[in-house]
Amino acid sequence: MSLLKIRNLRVEFGSLAHPFPAVDGLDFDIDRGELVGIVGESGSGKSVTMMALMGLIDAPGRVTADELVFDGHDLLKLKPAQRRKIVGKDISMIFQDALTSLNPSYTVGFQIKESLKVHMGLRGAALEKRALELLELVEIPAAKSRLGAYPHQLSGGMNQRVMIAVAIACNPKLLIADEPTTALDVTIQAQIMDLLERLQKEHNMGLIMITHDLAVIAEMAKRICVMYAGQVVEQAPVADLFRAPRHPYTQALLEAIPEHSKGARRLSALPGIVPGHYDRPKGCLLSPRCRYAQDKCSQERPALLDGVRCYYSLNAEGESTHG
């Protein structure tokens, strides 16, 4: 049984009469100890999916799903108080900008200990010891003195380590990292990635790594899930995806990685932006931007078949399979 099973997740914003689906019929699975990457442009619904999983979508946003099962609990059927016993303990999340994601008025120590107190019931010396242990686990030097520091006194990389310490405090079974390195310097990025990978292996956590940059997770993830406009458009093992992308969108993303465009005069870029509230196409959501689009594409929406959502999925040579 998988650790997390999502079936037909839908997250809508806007009025009931004119809803805007930020996530539209999403299916997703992850196993214990698995590392999965979710990739897509801004606005593709990656973060919203994870926020829905964490129960962070507020009214007027609406979350529905056939199944949202984590570790045997259907999260949507739980009472809020019961759900909070899982969220922050067994599932936890780290965010893009660590400095703004930490409360400026409290010390780092307070913010780490808070989860430990609420979820594990730790007190006194045991609490102190565990907090220190966590800071050492995320490789923060002079950990003892850092416990009393405020977020604004630490560097960006250091704050992200603190965020990770907060997230892994209760030994979660699933950790979600939402673009954890986007706000950091390149050298620090690699360090944080290595740290996350090490922690994931050591603790046998499920790790969902959200990013808009395929290159970042190419080396780490076993499986990649590509999202576009609130839908999964392709799902495949990393090696297959890089060798032979089957969805035109995946192909475009790969072409946008500088290493893949060697020799080309210009870096390839997908024209246009993700459709918004008012310009959502009737057919395939990518059809207005797709170089292979046919008449059918703009009329009907394709389903996710065999890990790809395209009528004319690409073959191994990167060519469209239409007539």
């Binding site: 072409e255 390839s268 931007r289 170089r291």
Partner: protein, 301 residues
């Protein structure tokens, strides 16, 4: 491999700034109603001589303390009743609008313009002039508005012009500080540097390059300044330090009416309601203005 895709041609049609402003302003229903009320008050003030049914200082000795027309003993000629000297309250209120608006307008102007100049100077020359200006403003800010006005009235004596001066001096620091803060934020931006490199002089930089980009907060502050000037004029009038009777000023009217609280409540009620409605409508308008002018807040709501 890199076949270009034609994106559907969209000709973007951007609304003119004025239209865009009106669109976001009219989104706020309260602000539109407030604007309408305020325009009515302005209309009354400007055309007071034609609208007012009576001469505001004419004393109808036979009809002293006549209640409003709908109350028992009221007369239809005196719609809102008469005061302790038999003067028509409605006419006095209408003429009062002219005085209050005039004082408020002039005092805003008299503090806005020097305030902007001083603020720009303080921003452009932070070492010399700036320090001196801001220290002086700190001193002025240490005296709460009405106390500073009292202080100035003590020196100059009461009266219409002096009320204007007192209020203008009292609000000067807020414009100076605001302009300085806004200008300081703009001064390091690339477009200013570009203009400087292109050889623009200090005056041109100050007034043509930087100032227009600082206007949004200043305009909002000016609306608030306008409403507080009306309140302060009335407060000074009430204390007997402002416009002197028999000039029909709202606060001065209230001051005289205090003794008739029991016998003639309308003499107290009417001027106060007028002040409240006027000030409220300006403040609501100011709120609408702020939301419409401040791009940061624009989409947040």
């Amino acid at each position: 491999m890199t076949t270009q895709v034609q994106i559907a041609d969209v000709v973007p049609s951007y609304p003119s700034p004025l239209k865009e402003f009106w669109q976001s302003f009219s989104h706020n229903k309260g602000a539109v109603v407030a604007l309408f009320i305020f325009l009515c008050v302005i209309f009354c003030g400007v055309f007071a001589g034609w609208i007012a049914p009576h001469d505001p200082v004419e004393q109808y000795r036979d009809h002293m303390l006549t209640p409003p027309s709908w109350a028992e003993g009221g007369m239809s000629t005196f719609l809102l009743g008469t005061d302790e000297l038999g003067r028509d309250i409605l006419s006095r209120l209408i003429h009062g609008a002219r005085i209050s608006l005039f004082i408020a307008f002039m005092s805003v102007l008299m503090s806005l313009i020097p305030g902007m100049v001083l603020g720009l100077l303080a921003a452009f020359f932070p070492k010399g002039a700036g320090t001196v200006i801001m220290r002086v403003m700190d001193v002025m800010l240490a005296l709460p508005g009405i106390l500073l006005a009292i202080c100035i009235i003590t020196i100059l004596g009461p009266g219409l012009i002096n009320t204007m001066i007192a209020i203008a001096i009292g609000t000067l620091p807020s414009y100076t500080r605001l302009t300085r803060a806004a200008a300081m934020a703009e001064i390091n931006k690339e477009y200013v540097t570009a203009s400087r490199v292109a050889g623009a002089g200090a005056l041109r930089l100050m007034f043509l390059t930087v100032l227009p980009n600082c206007m949004a907060p200043i305009i909002v502050n000016a609306t608030l300044g306008f409403s507080s000037a009306i309140l302060e004029t009335a407060a000074l009038g009430f204390l007997g330090l402002g416009v002197q009777p028999p000039t029909p000023e709202w606060g001065t009217m209230l001051s005289a009416a205090r003794d008739y609280i029991e016998r003639a409540p309308w003499v107290v009620t009417m001027p106060g309601v007028t002040i409240l409605v006027t000030v409220l409508s300006i403040n609501l308008m100011g709120d609408g203005l702020r939301d419409a002018l401040d791009p940061k807040l624009k989409r947040a709501a």
